[in-house]
Symmetry: C2
Subunit: 435 residues, 2 copies
């Protein structure tokens, strides 16, 4: 890998250690990460915090320990979502995160701060933002080709794909945090043969989709597009997203206006917002487009973005069936692949979304679309792994799956690793199909 051109700061220093003992060497949340989230303690209080090792630092409680500028920002975390805090913009959130870093790395301040730590496993985590609008993109080109081949064998990738960052609006109301059970949706299903009557009942082709969530921080006014060169500072951070999909409902309803009930019954996000600052060491060049692909239009093209706008993040999906859990088996890995499967950078998605004047707001969620790698072990959905349900996959215990069964749990993880830097984890995005 070539060296990144993205600037790093002192919070990326791999030699930094925290007086929070569980933080050093923590696979997800060392002091170099410090992701933001919303947590609830057993007394029912809900507010913003920062993950550090196995603990959460309460931000509102720490106001007096963070210095003047950061204190004003930490007060905004005394809320049920992070919207007010992140609406202040990337520079403000950087300042707050840096103040938290200083507090948690200064052993002399352990006494005054440790009372504001909560054991993470004793807290309930919430969706970090109140999502005004959820947009789902389709930036995983290998996924687009794979799915396109199943729906339109003669025409997998439509002529617009390499010009337009394809996206559509999803449902805000049904976004739930990791750990929330998913109820299998009922609906109309594609007729067995063309011209026949649709079926009706619980989906028999329930699937997951491995995506990353890109959170909007500072928004833009209606009618004022975000230029590509400024798009980065509107991105608050990322989480993991499972965009559950009912393939039989989707196949019947999606023309001509796109997916609707096949998707809007539930979407699951991981609870921690990992900032672009924490990910700075893992910024890499956007993979070169294959020979013959068109150049992005000028409003999508920025040299710095092309050189540092992709993220070297690895994503994994695991399945744990009820039988596996009953037998004490470990979850089985279904796939592993890189976030660089995105045909467009996050900044390109933001610039495209607003080029028509559409206003983004703090807390808006942009899904990347399913991120399937070009390799067999990197397929980000069962639809792809089972070849449209035609070829069941076999699990280590002999069970088979084409689509999800009741009791199945899907666990997604993601992390960034690089020699000379601390590993940064995204945590988990997990949910079980009820039944």
């Amino acid at each position: 890998m070539t060296d990144t051109a993205a600037p790093t700061d002192f919070t990326n220093d791999p030699s930094a250690t925290s007086w929070v003992e569980s933080a050093d060497g923590h696979p997800d949340f060392p002091v170099q990460n410090l992701p933001f989230g919303i947590f609830e303690t057993s007394d029912g209080r809900v507010r913003g915090g920062v993950a550090i090792g196995e603990s959460i630092l309460c931000l509102p409680a720490s106001v007096d320990l963070l210095g003047d500028e950061a204190a004003d920002l930490a007060r905004l975390a005394d809320a049920r979502d992070l919207n007010a805090l992140f609406s202040k913009g990337a520079r403000a959130v950087s300042a707050l995160r840096q103040a938290v870093f200083r507090l948690l790395t200064d052993g002399g301040r352990k006494g005054e701060a440790q009372g504001h730590l909560h054991q993470a496993d004793a807290c309930e985590l919430h969706v970090p933002f109140t999502v005004g609008d959820y947009t789902d993109f389709y930036s995983g080109i290998h996924h687009a080709v794979n799915i396109g081949s199943l729906f339109r064998p003669d025409n997998p990738l439509l002529p617009n794909y390499k010009h337009v960052p394809i996206g559509y609006h999803g449902r805000s109301s049904s976004i739930r945090v990791s750990g929330t059970e998913v109820k299998r949706p009922t609906g109309q299903k594609k007729p067995a043969e063309d011209g026949g009557d649709p079926g009706f009942g619980p989906s028999e082709r329930l699937d997951y989709e491995l995506e990353m969530a890109i959170w909007i921080g500072e928004g833009n006014a209606l009618g004022e597009p975000i230029p590509i060169a400024e798009a980065g500072r509107h991105i608050a951070g990322i989480s993991i997203l499972n965009d559950w999909s009912a393939r039989d409902i989707q196949a019947w309803e999606y023309q001509p206006l796109g997916p609707f009930l096949a998707k809007n019954f539930n979407s699951t996000v991981s609870p921690w917002v990992v900032t672009m600052d924490a990910l700075a060491p893992f910024r890499v060049a956007q993979p070169e487009r294959p020979e013959g692909d068109p150049l992005p239009l000028p409003y999508l093209l920025d040299r710095s973005d092309q050189e540092t706008g992709a993220l070297d993040v690895t994503m994994e999906v695991y399945l744990s069936t009820k039988a596996m859990r009953d037998a004490g088996d470990e979850p089985h890995r279904l796939s592993r692949g890189p976030m660089t499967a995105m045909y467009w950078t996050a900044a390109q998605l933001v610039a495209h979304h607003s080029v028509n004047g559409c206003n983004l707001r703090a807390g808006d969620l942009l899904g990347t679309g399913t991120l399937t790698s070009g390799e067999d072990h990197g397929k980000g959905s069962l639809m792809e792994l089972s070849n449209g349900g035609k070829t069941p996959i076999t699990l280590p215990n002999g069970e088979t799956r084409t689509f999800l069964e009741d009791g199945d749990e899907i666990i997604m993880t993601a992390f960034a690793e690089r020699d000379g830097f601390a590993r940064i984890g995204l945590g988990e995005c997990r949910a079980t199909i009820a039944g």
Copy 2:
């Protein structure tokens, strides 16, 4: 027209009169209407009110005049949106509206109440709800056929259309109230010939779409569908909706996931929520489906809904160009048609939307889709009136239009009329293209 089977109540009594002089005979807001909205006075205060003639009754100020149950509800209108009030459910809102009706029809109470009236034209009106999710349906079958013929000449109405109430998610953030200027969107446009490069620039095929807005009152929990027989009580009321559309952007981006930037730059709603109670005298049977059309599936079929679930509301669209305004000309009527152009009832849209467990919330907006009648003078968009831009329409002053020019103002109105009842108006939904 056959007699309606929908129950009416004392607020529909056509002989009722109000001590608010401008109300009696008012074309939109007689005392039989009493729609709810959010208004702002010149001192910057924003709260909920009820339109009566040329005035607005301030609900929070009237708390002591409305009786105990209604008082508690009126307090919920001391807010920047009607979400909290309408989340209490249809029966609660009915009780409040009836209390307002009693107050405004009892001449003896003029003295204590008239101080809480504001001149409507001195107030600024707002979008009545904070819209959590905006869903746009496609229930106007004549529109679907007309548009389908332009995009897919060989296949205008897809096989799912008469089975599935087709819908998709729209953008919440860019919904604006009547009177807000619309900025022409920029974006990628369909290549002149297949396989060519897309164009880029301001839309040259900017259009309006005549729709009605169906507002959700009481919502449902995630995973708990709303049965068709109960769907009616989840409907708070209706307004007029203009779903602005950039046809050149839409034609290029919409496959395979539906419209996105072609629609999400702006949607305009009228400010007053006309309740289903006010519209009770205008409930009519859903038009019979043509011979050979499939019967709706059981989850969409309810006898009472079929008998009284459609609304006898007339909608009109007017155009006023800059040249017309400069010359003092009246706006020119582009179309007039009935809301019964809906292939599905509002209750069917609600039942379908939630059949998969998707949760609706108070303030959610359901667009009907463009409502074009089966007659030439009832086409609800310029795309239809100009035959896809191929046949310009000529205005009385000699100007021609295929799509909207800068400075054009689109004015939509809607109303219900029936012998023996007061006319109920929806007010106006108007906006001008900037430039």
